[in-house]
Symmetry: C2
Subunit: 300 residues, 2 copies
C-alpha cells in the first residue's frame, strides 16, 4: 500500500545498486579503488556499509563507503581541484568461511505439532555498532513472541518455532540451511514471519505466497487495526525466510515505520539507544498476535 | 480508533491529575510541600513538569516534580527509613503576567476569502530544553503548510491562516484571544487544524465538531491513506483551537505516533535532536494536503 516516497525501503532499493555493483563495474573499467557515498537518508558522519557483488574474474580492488558528509566534502574538493589526489588506506580483508549457527527454540503444537510457524530475525550485523535495528530488534521480538505466549499460558495448537538466523548480511547461509533442513526432515512450515526492518512502531504485515491463503489471513486485519497495524499488503516476506518459498510457506514480513531505519542502517550509529522500548514491544505484540492466530486457525 | 493502551495520551490523561491537583489537595490537608513523580512513560533522570491547579484560598506550598529515577530512589529510601527527612530548596516563583503575542500569517482565498482555515501550533514551552516536540514541531509544520502551498504555486480558494499561539502551557490565553478576535471581527473560521502532539510520523486526524460535516471530511481518508494517515476518528482537536468551538468551527488535531512523545514531554530532554526530519515533514505534508482539500471544497 505504501507509495514509494513514503516507505524508505523503496529509495534504498533503487540506490543500493551503486554500493552493490559499483566496485565490480569500476574494476571492469580499470579502476584501482572505489569510494561510494553511503546509501542512507541521513546526512551524517558515519560510513554506512553493506554487501557487494563478487568481482568474478575481475581484479579485486579496494572499496569503501564514506559518510554523506564526507562524500559532499569530497565532491566539492574534486570540483575545485580536478587533479585532487586521495590517499587511500584500507586494512579490511576477506577471511575464509568459518562455522556459525542458527539458534532455534520452539513450543510444540498441542493439536497439530507437524504444522510449524517460524518466526525470526537475524543474529549477524554489519559494522562496529550494535546492529540494533538490523537486526537485534527482530531477534528480540521473535524471542518475545515465544515469551509472551508462555507468560499468557497459551498452549498453541500448532508448533511455533523461533529462529535467530545467522549470516543474513553476508550470504544468507543461515536461511538457506534452515530451509534445506526443513525440506530434508519433510517438515511442513505453513507460515514464516520475519522482522528485519527495524524496531520502530509497527504498521502492518507484507505477504508473499499463495494469494488465496494470504487473503484469508488478511481478513484478521480489523482485529489488529486498533494497534496501528493498518497496512496488510503484498510484498517481500524477508530474506532469511525467502528460502522457504519453494515449500509453499506463507512468508510474512513485519512492516515497521521505516522513516528512521536508514539513518542508522549498516553504520556504527545503529546502537541500542536508538531503539524505543514501547515501539519495540508494540512490534513484538503485533507479531505475537498474528502468530497466535496462525497457530489457532492455520493457513487455509 | 486507538485503544487506550496504544495511544500514550490516554495514560497521560489519567495520570496527570496527580501533578495537576496534587499540591492543591496536599495543601488542603496541611502539607508543607509537594514532590510528585514525573508524569512520563520514560524511566529517566529528567524532571517532567507542567501546569498545576490554583491553590484557591489554600496556602501556596512549594511543589516540584522529580524524575522517575529520582522518585524510585526516594520511595526506596522512605521504605528503609520512614523518618527520612528531605532538604527542599526551590527558587522558582510566579511572576505577574506580561504582554506576549500570537504570530499570524495568511494566504487570502481567491474565491471565498471570508472562509478561513486556521492551522497552528503553540510558541511557548515548558522547561529548559527547546520545547521541540511540544510544540516547536507543531509551529514549524503549520508554517510549512503555508510554505508548501506557495512553493507549489497553489492559490487556495479559501483563506489559509497560520497561527503560532502563545501561552498554551500556562493559561491558554493566546487561543482564547484569537477566538475572541475572530468573533469580534465576525470572521468565519470554517475549520482549524492543530499540531500539538509532537513531530513523529503522522497517523491521522481527530475530529471535533458537527458530525455530518466531519463525516464528509473523513471521506477523503483514502486519498491520504497511502501516506500512513489511517486513523480518521472523533477526538480532541487541540487546546488552542478549542476556544473556537462556540463558533461552529470544525476542529481537527493531527495524530502523530505517540509512542515517544512523553519520553521528552515537558522536560529538558525535549530538544531538537529528538525530532526526525522525515517524520516532521510527513506530518507537515499530511496537514498541507488536508488544508488544501478544505480550501478547495470547504466544510459542508
Amino acid at each position: 500500500m505504501n507509495p514509494e516516497y513514503y516507505n524508505t525501503f523503496h529509495a534504498y532499493g533503487e540506490a543500493v545498486m551503486y554500493r552493490w555493483a559499483g566496485a565490480n563495474r569500476a574494476s571492469k573499467y580499470g579502476a584501482v579503488g572505489v569510494i561510494v557515498r553511503s546509501v542512507t537518508l541521513s546526512y551524517d558522519d558515519f560510513p554506512h556499509t553493506g554487501s557487494m557483488a563478487d568481482y568474478d574474474s575481475l581484479p579485486e580492488i579496494p572499496a569503501c563507503a564514506v559518510s554523506t558528509v564526507g562524500a559532499k566534502k569530497l565532491s566539492e574538493a574534486i570540483k575545485t581541484n580536478p587533479d585532487l589526489k586521495v590517499i587511500y588506506k584500507a586494512s579490511c580483508k576477506k577471511l575464509p568461511d568459518a562455522p556459525s549457527h542458527n539458534v532455534i527454540a520452539e513450543i510444540k503444537g498441542s493439536m497439530y505439532p507437524d504444522e510449524i510457524i517460524t518466526v525470526g530475525g537475524h543474529l549477524d550485523a554489519w559494522e562496529t555498532g550494535d546492529g540494533a535495528h538490523d537486526d537485534g530488534t527482530g531477534v528480540v521480538q521473535s524471542m518475545e513472541v515465544i515469551r509472551l505466549l508462555k507468560a499468557l499460558n497459551i498452549k498453541p495448537k500448532r508448533t511455533i518455532r523461533c529462529v535467530a538466523f545467522m549470516n543474513e548480511e553476508n550470504g544468507g547461509k543461515g536461511g538457506e540451511k534452515y530451509a534445506a533442513e526443513c525440506k530434508a526432515k519433510n517438515e511442513k512450515v505453513i507460515a514464516a514471519l520475519e522482522s528485519d526492518g527495524g524496531g520502530a512502531t509497527p504498521q502492518g504485515f507484507s505477504f508473499q505466497g499463495d494469494t488465496v491463503k494470504a487473503e484469508n489471513i488478511m481478513k484478521w486485519k480489523n482485529l489488529l487495526l486498533p494497534w496501528g497495524l493498518y497496512d496488510w499488503s503484498y510484498g517481500h516476506g524477508g530474506s532469511d525466510i525467502d528460502h522457504l518459498k519453494d515449500q509453499g510457506t506463507m512468508m510474512i514480513g513485519l512492516i515497521p515505520d521505516s522513516q528512521r531505519y536508514f539513518d542508522y542502517h549498516h553504520a556504527a550509529s545503529d546502537t541500542f539507544d536508538k531503539v524505543n522500548r514501547r515501539e519495540l514491544e508494540l512490534g513484538a505484540a503485533g507479531m505475537a498476535a498474528l502468530v497466535y492466530l496462525l497457530s489457532e486457525y492455520g493457513v487455509k
